[in-house]
Symmetry: C2
Subunit: 446 residues, 2 copies
């Protein structure tokens, strides 16, 4: 090019992932799969604006506050100051609470909703940390009280999703379930005062060795004996309802908080007994958010790589939206950290490769005179629900090369002249056969 | 509730629409429909981050700059200043240009992509103006040159989408096509110097009466005769290729810019002759963006309400990404203003009402003892690809009322006790029949 023009060479911004079309195609498959399973359980979708009033989302005073992105118009003026300050949402739970409060009279309870949107967090630039990422959340909210069987529906849904993600069928996952009442009740029974510190230590039972855990527990001011009892509870992992009920048998029948937690956990495990062995495990080291959850809690790990961290977490809460409405709204929910989950398949390089197009068929033509019949053929095939790309033109050889590069599985040859048959070529077998566009269907993938 | 708690009553923020689940269900259907048609033509999807470097998107110095939302972390510190300033994208074209430049070596050309994301513009709060809205874009980009038949593919795709939107089948739409070379060539031929002002006036031919247009044209300094010739061209509306070729016959065969535009427009109209009468019209008052488009231009209106404005616009450009890469990348694209389009069905109150759930069936149970068989039944039905909600529990009457409120079309009654049959009730007919969950299928909607 002869003219001289200033070129700004763009480069990726840390934390904002972006995929080439072949990778995006798989990401779409995953999102479609998740949506289909959510809907198969009758959950409705909502979408909230990416932007909320800062006052709504920053009400918590928690750590996340410093990661909130606030917005300002590039050329802000006096009028802007009269409006509420706006910010990007950092999760879908706060917006859900605001949504339920705002639309309370228009919702049908139990309100079963799923939500799959991007959220933003202004974290430090760091490899593997996303600042824009997808969450796929599912929650059930009810007024005043919510039946416990919903606590079992969450892991059933998640298991179905994660055990059949395209390209990840070989990856073993496990959902770990606990009930916060058990540990809290136990600490109460033991007379432990510094419960929050102790809970934080129990959260590390999987990561640190036992002596280290005992040492940390003693540092909080409790005796070695008590520390050992706590460690024993924290190390409990069982899969059958009967074994859940055997946790701390000396507590049975006391009507205590711990007993309540054990019975709830046993009920949830019982409801999930139809899942394959190892799919779910009752694991009392699971603690999750300190203030928010009040009963069942979930984490989900890759069995062969628990250090990757939880890819799907959640739990039961007593009170979703009391910041925004004077109603008691208990709920249970779980959130798939979609972008971290998707990063896994990229990390393992298991991505089904090569498809740069959703097309099933490319219709080609030896020269532009055939464009009319080629267009007609493409439209017939589309009418049958197939995705059909019409070749851009140019030499036939180049058209075929483009189809192959894009990974399009069939090439369609309309007749060169009237009276000749159509032909279609299966790119995987190389076989080329006569075909009628009105009748033809692709082979089912095995 | 006895405790006293500060409640922040949330209210909608102007320009950030949010729907209840019944409306969102229709919005999803529309988005799914659009995606399906885009893919049926073999276009691949890309998604770019909502956030770009401000330097990338604000490079233009155009009016839109003042509407850009820039971001800042709530608790920004010195480190933040070392990073690029970030902003929300205001369209999908600038991000596409940046994307194509950045991933140039990994893309397959002609690059046919669709993109359906939200964009943000910090407009003044005003009824009917969105500050967060969906755009559904489709573009084809090639290196050095791009065949003209793609200019005809755009309206064919858009026609298929807009003529079969669920709930909008009765709304007549029309795609209006012109070619900027015609008017520019004509003005050149007439020796008009103040072309930009004249083009802005021609853009109003549909809205103002002829005398007003002539008056405005004369005000730019041209003679009454020239004004009348320009008006005549601007008022040209024809539907057949032959009539396009008759525009300004005195210009035929001159090889001029105008002649080129007429031939291109005639070719595009000819390629679209299979569409129903009135679907597309060659309308020389269509002008669009002054600097960007170089050939074919499109607008789309509701025939019964052209004042609603264009719901889908675009055109051909010579040079997508020369700000970011030293390549000539011509393209043609069109963008559905999805949120404005969707606002139409809400405005007309044509929304298919009542469905608050994607469920085909609700499985109910007279009491909790049936939960086991009800769960099993639900899983069998889901295994057949149906969406099934399991009732929350409580009194049967309340379960049925919930199903009805949600608009779920079938109620499933598992057997009360072993040996009895399953039954299913069609809520539209009221008919209740025995059924086997492994065999049953819902009636096809007519």
């Amino acid at each position: 090019m002869s003219e001289k023009k200033k070129i700004y060479k763009p480069s990726p911004i840390s934390g904002f992932p972006e995929w080439t079309p072949d990778v995006r195609l798989v990401e779409q498959q995953w999102l479609d799969h998740i949506r289909a399973v959510f809907e198969s359980y009758g959950y409705c979708n909502i979408e909230t604006p990416a932007i909320e009033a800062l006052e709504v989302i920053a009400a918590k005073g928690e750590d996340v506050d410093k990661e909130i992105y606030v917005l300002e118009r590039l050329q802000a003026d006096e009028d802007d100051k009269k409006e509420a300050r706006l910010a990007l949402h950092f999760d879908q739970t706060v917006p859900l609470a605001r949504y339920v409060a705002q639309h309370f009279n228009d919702l049908i309870f139990p309100f079963k909703r799923y939500q799959m949107q991007k959220v933003w967090r202004g974290e430090r630039p760091q490899a593997g940390r996303f600042r824009e990422f997808y969450q796929c959340d599912i929650d059930v909210i009810n007024v005043d009280n919510l039946p416990l069987h919903f606590d079992a529906e969450m892991p059933a849904i998640i298991w179905q999703i994660l055990s059949s993600l395209p390209g990840m069928e070989d990856e073993k996952i496990q959902i770990r379930i606990s009930n916060r009442k058990i540990l809290l009740g136990w600490l109460e029974h033991l007379g432990v005062e510094n419960q929050i510190d102790v809970i934080r230590i129990v959260d590390k039972v999987e990561k640190l060795d036992s002596n280290k855990i005992l040492h940390l527990l003693e540092e909080t001011g409790i005796t070695r004996d008590t520390a050992e009892e706590i460690l024993k509870v924290g190390q409990t992992k069982v899969t059958r309802k009967e074994d859940v009920l055997k946790i701390a048998p000396q507590m049975q029948g006391t009507g205590s908080l711990m007993q309540e937690g054990i019975e709830e956990l046993a009920f949830v495990m019982d409801q999930l007994s139809h899942l394959p062995e190892g799919a779910v495990v009752a694991d009392l080291s699971i603690v999750r958010g300190l203030d928010y959850y009040t009963g069942t809690v979930y984490e989900t790990v890759f069995v062969d790589d628990p250090g990757y961290g939880s890819i799907c977490s959640g739990g039961r809460y007593d009170d979703l939206a009391s910041n925004y409405i004077n109603k008691k709204l208990p709920g249970v929910g779980i959130s798939i950290g979609f972008s971290r989950l998707f990063a896994r398949i990229l990390q393992k390089q298991q991505l089904p490769t090569g498809k740069h197009s959703p097309a099933d068929i490319m219709v080609v033509m030896p020269n532009e005179e055939q464009r009319g019949v080629a267009t007609e053929t493409a439209n017939i095939l589309r009418g049958k629900g197939l995705n059909v790309e019409l070749a851009h033109g140019g030499k036939l050889k180049k058209q075929l090369a483009t189809a192959e590069k894009k990974g399009i599985p069939y090439i369609w040859f309309p007749p060169f002249e009237d009276g000749l048959p159509h032909e279609v070529k299966d790119m995987s077998s190389g076989e080329q056969t006569e075909a009628d566009p009105a009748q033809w269907t692709p082979k089912k993938e095995s």
